[in-house]
């Protein structure tokens, strides 16, 4: 069970420093946290012409929450905001066990490696924190405004 969760890929992403920074020209900054466990991230997005030009984060939490955030950042760079929301929804459905087809999950790229979390109800919130935060951030800012 553990080796399916704490894979080398997840270890690498949880320790990676590359996407842990502040953006000089952030369009959106959104804080997300799980009050029950204390996992905490701040997500920064730079959006231009409806496309996520750059993304970064800061925060502290368990390996799953941090790896998931790091993977999401890499996936979102270059995507349109609409695409980003759709992918966030797909990821959340994967973690909730609603989408299980590997082919369908391919577009989540490395983040599809977190699929096994769907069998660990106690860790679902850790995996989905960043993706809910992204969705809230775009929603709050007004998705339409960003798309223009």
């Amino acid at each position: 069970m553990l080796e399916n969760i704490y894979t080398e890929l997840i270890a690498e992403h949880s320790q990676s420093k590359e996407n842990r920074r502040a953006l000089a020209n952030a369009t959106i900054k959104e804080r997300g946290h799980n009050p029950s466990c204390g996992d905490e991230i701040t997500l920064e997005l730079e959006v231009a012409g409806g496309v996520i030009a750059d993304a970064a984060f800061s925060g502290a939490g368990c390996a799953i929450s941090q790896a998931s955030t790091d993977m999401m950042i890499e996936l979102m760079r270059g995507k349109t905001v609409d695409e980003a929301r759709r992918l966030a929804e797909l990821f959340i459905k994967m973690i909730q066990g609603e989408v299980t087809d590997d082919e369908e999950l391919e577009e989540l790229d490395e983040a599809a490696a977190l699929k096994n979390i769907s069998t660990m109800p106690a860790r679902v919130k850790c995996a989905t924190l960043a993706w809910h935060t992204l969705d809230t951030a775009i929603e709050k800012f007004g998705g339409d405004k960003l798309a223009r």
Binding site: M1, L2, E3, I5, Y6, E8, A11, S36, C37, G38, D39, E40, A60, G61, C62, A63, I64, Q66, M120, A122, R123, C126
Partner: protein, 406 residues
């Protein structure tokens, strides 16, 4: 003797993730012996009716179960009278009752409420709200380097302006036993009322409210073998009598007219609505069980397990312990594994059948004071064994390699 305990707790012989269960989350809630489960079934199977109301025999029986439990709790805490025992849902409700009924009605701007930085949110957030509503100030006693309450801090912060001192008898994060008796005496000298959070002490050490001279003491049944949903507020009769009701409705009244109501006497004044009689029956059976084991034995076992766990964890260079240098410590060990978040530690231990708590333990200000976002906590009860501690240590030794750090 260990074996006898396991026989009384079938759940402790169950498995978790295919491994024998090592249940080390007793500060969160304890397991229930068969005698407690039987008493609850016995109540609902043979005595259930609404107490205090019916004139028929079954209701009288239910009333007797409930009031016998109250007398047992009064005796257990060495209270002056069963009227000083109010049944609640848990320690949180008990502390809220004090905050809302006593705090809101007796404090005003310029007054001070004094608590410690090691309080559980349940003995902290209600006081924040009372302070905000009344204009009183909420002050904190900070800890010395060893994790104990600093004597200097107590001297400095306990003043004539202090109207309430609310303090835990044993910290749920550090396991340190506060000298509540000395603190209460000092608080009474300046005219403050003393509120004791007994959630982590009443299950583990003998507590005598009159000896402590506590004005109020709160605890939860579920942390001492009882079902969830039954808790206790002890209060000195003289103070409780002067307090207005917290919740109002059925069973707590004397006369109700269209525009006015007179309230029932203690303890009914504070027990609105149908109460948790099955829970009270369970609490009563739990007290019998604990007395059978004996607090001398409970304390001895827990001190031994705690000392053993600390000694073994100290041998692991990448484990950091908190509040483990102090002598007056009982029942739990709080720690971190270097470079690994507590939740990941807890998941890895879970796979090995070891149940511990990870997170902020409902004590975020203390976590900040300790400079940690979160910690792991292994907490013991008398039914735990040295083997449980060994399994904890063995599992911790695998953590860094599972996380690809070793």
């Amino acid at each position: 003797m260990d074996k006898n305990f396991l026989n009384a707790f079938p759940i402790l012989r169950s498995k978790m993730n295919g491994q024998p269960l090592a249940y080390l989350d007793n500060a969160a809630t304890t397991q229930k012996p068969e005698s407690v489960v039987r008493s609850i079934c016995g109540y609902y199977g043979g005595c259930n009716a609404n107490p205090h109301r019916g004139v028929y025999e079954l209701s009288v029986k239910a009333t007797k179960v409930y009031e016998d439990a109250r007398r047992k709790v009064a005796d257990f805490l060495h209270a002056g009278s069963p009227k000083e025992i109010i049944f609640t849902k848990n320690a949180t409700e008990s502390l809220n009752l004090i905050a809302y009924s006593y705090g809101l009605n007796n404090l005003r701007g310029g007054d001070e409420i004094l608590i410690t930085i090691a309080e559980h949110h349940s003995n902290l957030v209600p006081w924040q709200r009372v302070a905000r509503a009344t204009g009183a100030t909420l002050n904190y006693i900070y800890l010395s380097a060893d994790g104990n309450l600093s004597a200097e801090e107590i001297e400095k912060k306990l003043t004539r302006r202090t109207k309430i001192l609310a303090v835990t008898q044993i910290s749920n994060v550090l396991g340190l036993v506060n000298d509540v008796k000395t603190l209460a005496a000092r608080a009474h000298e300046v005219g403050a009322v003393v509120v004791v959070d007994g959630a982590q002490s009443v299950p583990h050490i003998p507590v005598d409210v009159q000896d402590l001279d506590a004005d109020f003491l709160a605890f939860s049944g579920h942390k001492m073998l009882s079902p969830m949903g039954i808790g206790v507020l002890y209060g000195k009769k003289k103070i409780l009598e002067e307090m207005p009701p917290f919740l109002s409705g059925g069973d707590m009244i004397e006369y109700v007219e269209e525009q006015a109501t007179t309230f029932a006497e203690l303890p009914q004044k504070f027990e609105a609505g149908t109460q948790n009689v099955g829970g009270a029956a369970g609490l009563s059976a739990a007290i019998d069980y604990l007395r059978g084991v004996g607090f001398a034995q409970i304390e001895r076992i827990e001190r031994e397990l705690t000392a053993y766990a600390i000694a073994e964890l100290k041998k692991i260079p990448y484990v950091e312990l908190y509040g483990c240098e102090a002598e007056n410590k009982i029942g739990l060990v709080t720690f971190n594994v270097k470079d690994v978040h507590p939740h990941d530690v807890a998941t890895i231990l879970d796979a090995a059948g070891v149940a511990i708590r990870a997170g902020h333990h409902c004590a975020q200000p203390l976590m900040k004071f300790l400079g940690q976002n979160a910690t792991c906590r292994a907490s013991f009860y008398f039914y735990n064994t040295r083997r449980d501690v060994e399994r904890l240590v063995e599992a911790i030794q695998t953590v860094r390699s599972v996380m690809h750090l070793a």
